[in-house]
Amino acid sequence: MTLSRRDFVAMLLGAPMAMACGRQRPAPLPDGELLTPGKAGGHRLRDATVGDVRVPDDRWLTTDVVVIGGGVAGLSAAWWLDRAGVRDLRVLELDRVPGGTAQAGASEVTPYPWGAHYVVTPLRHHRAMLALLEEMGALAGADEHGEPVVAEDLRVRELEERVFYLGRWYEGQYLQAGATAADRDQLARFRAEIDRWVGWRDGAGRRAFTLPASAASVDAAVTALDRISFAAWLGERGLDSSRLRWLCDYACRDDFGLLAADTSAWAGLAYFASRVARPGAEHQSVITWPDGNGAIVAHFTGRLGDRVLVDHAVADVRIADTLVEVIAHTPDGVRGVRARRAIVAVPGFIARRVVAPLRTGARPAHTVDRGAWAVANLHLDRRLRTRVGDAPLAWDNVLHDSPSLGYVVATHQRGREHGPTVLTWYYPFTGDGAAARKDLDGATREDWAEVALADLSRAHPDFRDRCRRVDVAYWGHGMPRPRVGAVFDPALAAARAPLGPIHMASSELSAVALFEEALDHGVRAADEVLAT
């Protein structure tokens, strides 16, 4: 990295911000660490030569099913197998902790997310999600339409969200303040379009947009939406209100790490339409925990116990007679696993290197574009000042004019309104993934911390005074992105098919990086195994 810190801030937040932080002499930064998920294991992998590794006889382990990758997709697969009575299984995870992009950290004050931090109350068709929430004791019954209701203390408490715009905080995400009649009219038209899609059913009674996407209709009217961008879809309808466009861009950045102009219209509409039970109904409640989706990861690992093996960097997954052989690098040498079946739950760019049939070209490997993300956890010694008339601190606090997404508050759900807390700040790189990684891969913890502090100080002049620690995670290959054409790509559908005894999971197989998708592919792969 040859950029100066100030250039780095300029690159991520724009030149005026860099000017601002250049003028005050560089204040000393609070302490912190750079979390590099899976870095050690990744290095072991890169240094290893695939193919001719010798695994000593006493380093082999035999199991019925081996799962490669301990992110949500892999853990869901193992959990579903375990529920079905398959106890003889192992999960191999490269990182020191399981969870992948849903892992969590903790301070003395509170646990906090390092990536994924919410799920949405499922509709009744989503049986695996309901089974999971049931098992976690998170369900509280059903509403008068028979749709599931989640326990009150898991639904995001008020205030759910607020947005910072021109020096003030406003309730909600859509900027109502100052909206013109034309803005409001466009918002109403947009909502009507969404409602139309919420009520839409194909000949088989399927919805156009569902979570997970596998339950959605493949009617031509639906798949056509994948061939244009969300922005183009809005344009065709004359929806050009800057506030509405901001909302749609924000939605795409938030869930997909893309701008509306690059997002498949199917994915963009799914953000709004898949989480509503019926036309006119409210958005299904958002569910969160202080540690974000780390709470679900903890539930999975609690159930799976020592069958989850961390620090296992899988380098090879190959078919040997009727079995699958898996070679993994651990801090104390290589290790082999023989299993009847394997489930590969790692991102496509890794799968194509480690899964033998993909590596050798026996089947063309398909990968989905992945976007880079930076996440900072900012530890505050006490609460930030609020100005009279501002909306109070919310769970999700959005900065209208920033390329970052703002921050969520780890203590929000517990209900502590005072004292120290941890804020989790998200920055998605919406541009080309490979180019972003080239610029960002060498950035230091201090570079990131400076960006996060500069960004948040705009909305909170006292931020630097309150901030005692800034830890940063950089997810170079953070999440797959539903670019135009990605969702209903026939090659993606083909990539889900098993390769003999090797079954495929990972949220990437939906091109939409959401918990529900990771769960869906994990459960599907497990069901495939159970059917054999």
Partner: protein, 506 residues
């Protein structure tokens, strides 16, 4: 040497006299505000002040050297001690047990200095003016100054400035006159520079005090409260203000009245005893009682009046509030030292966070939070909160919840009632008239079915007898139930109802 400007020096006499008496009145007022008993306080202060003046006068004969210099020095000392007296007393009374001693110390110091001043001035002027004229003018002006003070103090200073600023502003006036004196007596003083620097320092200190006093209570806050502010503190959680009026004192949190000592007994008797009676009727007299909120200790007073009570836990967010209830003499007297009762344990934590991990088996829970005017308080009125509470009650347990006014905020009141009902309780809403609040509402609830109590408990009460008990549970048409939604963590209807309803009355 120029002749002394005697007339102008007489102005000094008036100023010194006025200021002196203002300090005395300030001390007596603060004493009676904070320590109650105003007859005792005024007598003590006046007596001590006059005798201290005598001591000062007596000491004056030992003062020699450059009299003009001494005179200005004393005047500056009066300005400093007197000017800072009220702010220091204000800060001291919450922290220090020996408030009375500090108060009388100030009175004595100011009295002695003022007592020193007049003889010195007379000695300075003795060669200029015939003795009989001197005595008659100085003394008559001194008494005139006292009259001026006693008129200005209650009519102008206190209403316009408040106690703190009166003290500082008077001190400043005092010091400015002292500075002016260095010109009047320039010939007698000789080298004036060091004196002027001293005067400047005193003025600076008092000026800073005046700025700082704005942080204790702002000018606008003084006007906001109809009555005199006698205590103000911004804790990390809230702004606590105590005011004093002829009928007693009042506690405000973030500007909202929590109680007035004149009629709080109606509120707290109604809050506490129905639940105690209901629990007794359901099983046995309550032994373990939980109080959530209520850091003023007044609900605790009512609870502790029941001899069956063995253990009380009081959970209030703000340590500053519970410390005030324990140490602020008038409040500690009003709650009958409830917070020092060995049966009572104070916990300073968020009630909801605490409840989640707390043990249960409470026979009675008294829930007395400020009104739900934001999501932070609104969460303490949600179904989730009441469910947490329900799980921590014994089978015969009863709860009572303060539920805002069923008259002014009818939807809010019934929203609370319905939320408690939706949490698995049988509810019995009731109300009582509290003059300083208006009609106030509460909810009595048990997990089992029950009928509202019709008898008073067997403890000495001022308001609640059997008939009053039964009457509280009847709702006239203008407060009858309305159709509202319940309050949940992720959808705080109550906060929205409350906001829209109270806006109409403001």
């Amino acid at each position: 040497m120029r002749p002394l400007p005697a007339t102008l020096l007489y102005v000094n006499v008036v100023v010194v006299a006025t200021c002196g008496l203002v300090y005395e009145l300030l001390a007596a007022t603060m004493g009676s505000y904070l320590l109650g008993d105003s007859v005792l306080q005024f007598s003590l202060v006046i007596g001590l002040y006059l005798s201290a003046m005598g001591v000062g006068a007596w000491v004056s004969r030992h003062v020699g050297g450059n009299l003009a210099r001494r005179f200005i020095d004393v005047e500056l000392a009066v300005a400093l001690v007197g000017g800072l007296s009220a702010p220091i007393l204000f800060l001291a009374f919450a922290e220090v047990q020996r408030f009375q001693v500090i108060l009388l110390g100030f009175v004595f110091a100011i009295g002695a200095l003022v007592g020193l001043e007049l003889p010195l001035l007379m000695r300075i002027l003795q060669n200029e003016v015939a003795f009989k004229d001197l005595v008659s003018r100085v003394l008559s002006l001194d008494y005139a100054g006292a009259l001026l003070a006693s008129i200005l103090f209650p009519l102008v200073f206190v209403p316009e400035l408040g106690l703190l600023r009166t003290s500082l502003v008077i001190g400043l006036g005092n010091a400015l006159v002292g500075l002016w004196g260095t010109w009047l007596l320039a010939d007698q003083i000789g080298r004036v520079t060091s004196l002027r620097i001293r005067a400047g320092a005193v003025i600076a200190i008092l000026g800073v005090g005046l700025l700082f006093s704005t942080r204790l209570t702002t000018w606008s806050e003084n006007r906001l409260y109809a009555d005199e502010i006698v205590y103000a503190k911004t804790s990390p959680y809230q702004r606590i203000v105590v005011t004093r009026s002829p009928s007693g004192f009042q506690l405000f949190l973030n500007g909202n009245l929590q109680f007035a000592s004149a009629d709080e007994y109606r509120y707290h008797e109604a809050l506490v005893h129905p639940a105690m009676v209901a629990a007794t009727a359901a099983g046995h007299a309550p032994r373990r009682v939980l109080i959530l909120g209520g850091g003023d200790g007044l609900a605790a007073r009512e609870v502790l009046a029941h001899p069956s009570v063995e253990a009380v836990t009081l959970v209030d967010l703000d340590p500053a509030m519970t410390a005030l209830a324990r140490r602020f003499p008038p409040l500690a007297a009003l709650n009958r030292q409830a917070l020092s009762d060995p049966r009572l344990t104070v916990v300073n934590d968020d009630a909801m966070v605490w409840l989640r991990t707390s043990p249960g088996n409470w026979n009675v829970a008294i829930v007395d939070f400020p009104d739900p005017n934001g999501f932070g308080l609104g969460k303490l009125y949600t179904r989730n909160f009441y469910q947490l509470l329900a799980a921590r009650l014994t089978p015969e347990g009863a709860i009572a919840v303060q539920a805002t006014s069923p008259l002014f905020a009818r939807k809010s009141f019934w929203c609370i009632v319905r939320t408690i009902r939706a949490s698995g309780f049988t509810v019995a809403p009731y109300h009582v008239a509290v003059p300083s609040f208006g009609v106030w509402g509460f909810v009595l609830a048990r997990r089992a079915a029950f009928s509202p109590p019709t008898t008073a408990p067997n403890v000495a009460l001022r308001f609640l007898d059997g008939e009053a008990m039964a009457a509280m549970f009847r709702f006239p048409a203008d407060m009858a139930e309305v159709d509202v939604e319940i309050n949940q963590l992720d959808d705080q209807m109550l906060v929205r109802y409350y906001e829209s309803e109270w806006r109409r009355w403001q």
